[in-house]
C-alpha cells in the first residue's frame, strides 16, 4: 500500500516522515523517531501504556493511525523534561514507590499530569477513577495513587 507524507510537531520539533496510513502513532514515534519512551501493551486502547499528548490532550497512540496524525502536535514522555508538573510527579513517583518495572510509567505519568492540571481538587476516589484506564501489573496502584495525591496536595499548599 502506498505511503504518505506525515508532518507533525513532536516534542516541539518539526518532524517530516513518510509512512503507511496504517502505521499507528506509537510505531511512528518508536520506529521512525526512535522515541522509545512510549510503550505498547495491548495495542487496542485498553491498557494506557501508549498514552501520549496529542494536540494538547492525552490520547492512545496505539489506536491513532498515521494519516490522522498529519498536522498534529505530539508530546511523548521524552518531551516533558522541562515541565514543572512532570518534575514534581517524577519526584513523587520515586518517593512513593509508584513503579517497579516501569512499563506502565510513561502512560501513567501523562495521565497523572492531566489529572493534576484538570482536576486540582480531586480526592483519592476520583484519582483512582481517573487512573482506571492505565493498567499496572506490578505496583497494586497504591503507590501511584499516593504519588498523584502528593503532587495535588503540594500544589494546593496542604500536607498530603
Amino acid at each position: 500500500m502506498s505511503r504518505m507524507p506525515i508532518r507533525m510537531t513532536v516534542n516541539g520539533k518539526a518532524a517530516e516522515l513518510v509512512a503507511e496510513p496504517r502505521t499507528h502513532l506509537a510505531d511512528l514515534l518508536r520506529g521512525a523517531l526512535l522515541l522509545t519512551g512510549t510503550h505498547l501493551g495491548c495495542e487496542h486502547g485498553v491498557c494506557g501504556a501508549c498514552t501520549v499528548e496529542l494536540d494538547g490532550i492525552p490520547a492512545r497512540s496505539c489506536i491513532t493511525h498515521a494519516g490522522a496524525c498529519d498536522g498534529a502536535a505530539v508530546r511523548s514522555i521524552e518531551g516533558f523534561d522541562a515541565d514543572p508538573v512532570m518534575a514534581a510527579l517524577r519526584e513523587a513517583f520515586s518517593a512513593e514507590h509508584a513503579l517497579q518495572c516501569g512499563y506502565c510509567t510513561p502512560g501513567m505519568l501523562i495521565t497523572a499530569r492531566d489529572i493534576i492540571l484538570r482536576l486540582p481538587d480531586a480526592d483519592e476516589a476520583r484519582v483512582r477513577e481517573e487512573l482506571s484506564g492505565n493498567l499496572c501489573r506490578c505496583t497494586g496502584y497504591r503507590g501511584i495513587v499516593h504519588a498523584v495525591l502528593r503532587v495535588l496536595a503540594e500544589r494546593r499548599g496542604t500536607a498530603p
Binding site: 500500500m1 502506498s2 504518505m4 503507511e20 496510513p21 496504517r22 502505521t23 499507528h24 510505531d27 495495542e43 487496542h44 486502547g45 494506557g48 498514552t51 496529542l54 490532550i57 492525552p58 490520547a59 492512545r60 496505539c62 489506536i63 491513532t64 493511525h65 498515521a66 494519516g67 490522522a68 498529519d70 495521565t111 492531566d114 484538570r118 477513577e129 481517573e130 482506571s132 484506564g133 492505565n134
Partner: protein
C-alpha cells in the same frame, strides 16, 4: 496487532466526503472503536475517510428548543460542559462514565451511535430523549427518530451512502428528572446492563433499557415505573424472557435503581 493496509482520505468538505463514501470508503471519527477494530483486523476497509477536519463536524448549537450536537463532538467536550442547561448536565454525567479520559478525548458521540454497540453508553441513553439522528446524504439531511436509529448489533438506520451529521435533542427544563444506572465491574468498562429514566413535567416519563444484546428497549410511557419502581421493573424485565437469571436480575435492578434515582430528585 497491526492493521491490514488501508488508504487514508481527508476530505475538505461534506460533498467530497459523501462522494468518497459512495466509493465504499469507511468513515473515521475518533477512531476509538474503529482503531481497535483495524488493529485486530476485524475491519479491513480499503480506505478510511477522516471526518475530523470537516466544517461543523464538532460543536453544539441551540435553536428553537432543540440542541444540535455535531456528530464529531467528543465525549470529553460533553463531560466538560459543551452542552448548556439541564440537558447538558445530564449528558455530562453520562459522558464521564464512558471509557477513560484519553479515550473520551477523541471518541465522539456520533461515532459511538453509528458504531451501535448495544452496550455503548450513548446507544443506551440517547433514545430516552425525544430527539433525532440527523443523517446527511446526497439529497441533504434526513431526521431519524433516536428510538428507531439502532436496529441491531452494530446495525443502524443509516444508509450506506449517508453519514451521521448531528444529533438533535430537545432542550430540557431545569425541573426535568433523570435517573441512570450502568452496571460494570470496573470503571470505564462497557455496560453489563443500563437503564435510564427521564421525566419532563407535562410529558409522559420515558425509560430505556439497554446493553441487552438487542436494540435498546424504549418505554415511551414509564408512568407506572415511577409509581411503583420495583414491581414495574420486575414486570417489564419478566416480559423480556432473558435466558440467564443473573442477567435478568442485573437488568431488573438497573431499571429499579434508575427509577429510584429519578424519583429521589423530586424530594
Amino acid at each position: 496487532m497491526k492493521p491490514a493496509p488501508f488508504g487514508y482520505a481527508r476530505p475538505g468538505d461534506w460533498p467530497e466526503a459523501l462522494s468518497l463514501l459512495r466509493d465504499g470508503a469507511r468513515p473515521l471519527a475518533g477512531g476509538q472503536s474503529l482503531g481497535p477494530m483495524l488493529n485486530l483486523r476485524l475491519a479491513q476497509p480499503a480506505t478510511v475517510i477522516d471526518l475530523r477536519h470537516l466544517p461543523g463536524f464538532a460543536g453544539v448549537a441551540v435553536q428553537d428548543g432543540y440542541c444540535r450536537i455535531g456528530a464529531g463532538t467528543s465525549h470529553a467536550e460533553i463531560e466538560d460542559g459543551a452542552i448548556p442547561g439541564r440537558l447538558g448536565a445530564i449528558l455530562a454525567g453520562v459522558a464521564r462514565r464512558i471509557a477513560y479520559r484519553a479515550v473520551r478525548n477523541r471518541g465522539t458521540i456520533g461515532g459511538s451511535l453509528a458504531h451501535a454497540d448495544p452496550a455503548a453508553d450513548w446507544v443506551a441513553v440517547l433514545p430516552c430523549f425525544d430527539g433525532a439522528a440527523i443523517a446527511l446524504g446526497a439529497s441533504g439531511e434526513r431526521r431519524i427518530p433516536l428510538a428507531d436509529f439502532v436496529l441491531g448489533l452494530m446495525e443502524t438506520a443509516l444508509r450506506p451512502d449517508e453519514v451521521l451529521r448531528a444529533i438533535e435533542l430537545p432542550v430540557l427544563p431545569p425541573e426535568a428528572r433523570w435517573g441512570h444506572w450502568k452496571f460494570c465491574r470496573k470503571p470505564g468498562e462497557f455496560s453489563k446492563a443500563t437503564a435510564c429514566v427521564l421525566a419532563v413535567p407535562g410529558e409522559p416519563p420515558r425509560a430505556v433499557l439497554a446493553a441487552l444484546d438487542m436494540p435498546p428497549l424504549v418505554i415511551a410511557d414509564a408512568g407506572a415505573l415511577l409509581a411503583a419502581p420495583e414491581a414495574e421493573a420486575a414486570r417489564i424485565v419478566a416480559g423480556l424472557a432473558l435466558r440467564d437469571p443473573w442477567r435478568a436480575a442485573l437488568v431488573r435492578t438497573a431499571l429499579h435503581r434508575a427509577a429510584l434515582a429519578a424519583w429521589e430528585m423530586e424530594e
